[in-house]
Amino acid sequence: MSTTTPTTPTTQQNPTYSEAFQSGVREEMKLNPNIFILGTDLVERGGHFAQVKGIAQEFGVDRVKDSPISEAAMVAAGLGSAMYGCHPIIDLNFIDFSLGAMDEIINQAAKIRFMFNRPVPLVIRATSGVALGGAHHCNSLESLFAHTAGLSVAVPSRAYDVKGLIKTALRSPDPVIFLMHKKLSGVRGEIGDENTFIPFGSANKVKSGKDAAIISYGYTIVSAQKAAQNLAEQGIDVEIIDLRTLYPLDTDTINETVQKFGRVVVADEAPMFGSITAEIAATASEANFKHLKGPIIRVGAARAPLSANPQMSEAAIPSVNDLVEAVKKVMSY
């Protein structure tokens, strides 16, 4: 399932991560008149991260709807219209605000197909990840959604994956939580054409290596790349696997990676206790125990709310150095 795509040169021509979203959505909106977008401040502003900039101007306000600040109703609007036959994209702005729509997401959208045998082709998009803004704007909630049967979770780390994954989501009949990292919004990169679809559950080998592997996703992939450079200087050649989606999870690639190296670090920036890295480490350990040279090491954030002070917020999440140290630890087995 793992597909390797070339590392992307960041030239001025390449679109940003946010523009990649626009691009994928535009292409699918042209083909499917039942796709519409609903959220706050989308029409004029184009969303807080320019993720839908210009789309209302192109497709009209019937297909890009400004919403009141009513997260529960926003998701309900998506859910009911998806059951009816539309393919809505509900833009929740920050994923933190999904906490006001958890019943609609977890009890309703995720369960309708199982209970009533009815597809719910619904995309819930939100900006996620740790950056500025403090405790109410930096929740890492991906493990909550991944734990919920019936939901799939995309966590792209670059423009190419944003576009390829949103296009797949917009062709699928299932609810998707689509999380875009705030620190990546403006990062440019190559994107695929209108026929580039990235299947969920297919990890991307960002970098191959000989000695050990880091399995991660989202912004932590950027840190992992820096860590890899640093480690290379110390003679350690680390492989980097970007999961791209947390559910479905590319367990084939995870298993192959664990079996290949026996030395694996699993990292993200969610508070570590109970994060998705636990699932990955526990399941991979159980399945590949004999191949392990030592325990799988997890790297994650402190068990604390995030602070608005940038130094504190940075200190709470894994640094490049934390990743370097973790890899050195698995190398010491």
């Binding site: 039942n34 009911g80 059951m83 539309c86 809505p88 309708i112 209970m115 045998n117 479905p248």
Partner: protein, 327 residues
């Protein structure tokens, strides 16, 4: 106003069918046939039948934990409903749902719900879909008097107003939420006034008068189809039984129940009207009662004889797998 005889008979029969269904299912629940129990709607038939008789079969509804009456009135065969209560494979949700999760999405029944208030949101969403696709339909969201204290209900109402959605919100106001009297928990104690505060036509109506319910729903539907947006209807009704089967409680008097049953029963009122108008004979009425009883008996038989769901299917249908290989 004189009632059309054909419509009147069909309407009355629907109410009788629901009443018999509920009383039968109640007893079967007490005998352990309905896993998880059930919420009996006896007394509330006029709300369900009054609303549904004003709709087109293709219109959409989404409802609550107390939804047998809505479901039967919407047209689901009683044997399928009963089988679902029994959690049999032949039930509308294949036995996955039981009493609270009746649905037939294909035919516009977007589901009962275990979560108070959720049905209004889902119906509102369906109305978004209807409008988006340019269809000539409406969606109806049911909620209880207790449910109007959930925030999600008012978010959905507001959204329906600003998007001018073809939505009708029906408060199936039976005056109690479990054991809690509506006045004790409803600020202002005027639910229609709440609706009005959100800027949509809002009415409190006699939910025991099936013709009144029908008339208000029809008008609301016409407004919705004309692009004038949603309507809010607070229908006053009463449930005769406990919140869940077998529950009694001290929260209301036997006199209160007897008063509603004897003076305002929707079936008695409507049958008396039809008989007095000559639209129905006493003999017709008795035949109707018998025919309904037979239909329910057959439904019980169907449910009893139906197979249980295959437990090996518990992972089927969680998702489509089409996003990528689920593992």
């Amino acid at each position: 106003m004189t009632t059309d005889s054909k419509w009147g008979k069909e309407t009355l029969r629907q109410m009788l069918l629901i009443r018999n269904f509920e009383e039968t299912a109640d007893k079967l629940t007490l005998r352990g046939k309905v896993p998880g129990g059930m919420h009996n709607s006896s007394g509330q038939e006029a709300v369900a039948v009054g609303v549904m008789s004003a709709l087109d079969p293709k219109d959409v509804i989404a409802t609550t934990h107390r939804s047998h009456h809505h479901t039967i009135a919407k047209g689901m065969p009683v044997n399928i409903v009963m089988a679902e209560l029994f959690t049999k494979a032949t039930g509308c949700s294949g036995g996955r749902g039981a009493s609270m999760h009746l649905a037939d999405v294909e035919n516009g029944h977007f589901g009962g719900n275990g979560i108070v208030g959720a049905g209004v949101g889902i119906a509102m969403g369906a109305a978004v879909g209807i409008k988006q696709m340019g269809h000539k339909k409406v969606a109806v969201g049911f909620v209880g008097d207790g449910g109007v204290n959930t925030g999600r209900t008012w978010e959905a109402v507001n959204m329906a107003v600003i998007y001018k959605l073809p939505l009708i919100i029906i408060v199936d106001n039976n005056q109690y939420a479990v054991e809690t009297f509506v006045e004790r928990v409803t600020g202002g104690n005027d639910i229609a006034k709440r609706g009005a505060g959100f800027g949509l036509p809002s009415f409190t109506i006699d939910g025991q008068d099936v013709e009144e319910v029908h008339k208000y729903t029809l008008e609301a539907r016409n407004r919705a189809l004309a692009g004038e947006g949603p309507t809010f209807i607070n229908a006053l009704t009463y449930r005769y039984y406990g919140h869940n089967v077998g529950e009694k409680g001290q929260y209301r008097t036997q006199e209160e129940i007897a008063d509603w049953r004897s003076h305002r029963d929707p079936i008695d009122r409507f049958s008396a009207k039809l008989i007095s108008e000559g639209a129905l004979t006493q003999a017709d009425y008795e035949a109707m009662i018998n025919s309904v009883a037979k239909e329910i008996e057959e439904a019980v038989d169907f449910a009893e004889k139906s197979p249980l769901p295959d437990v090996s299917t518990i992972l089927d249908g969680v998702d489509s797998g089409l996003l990528g290989a689920s593992k």
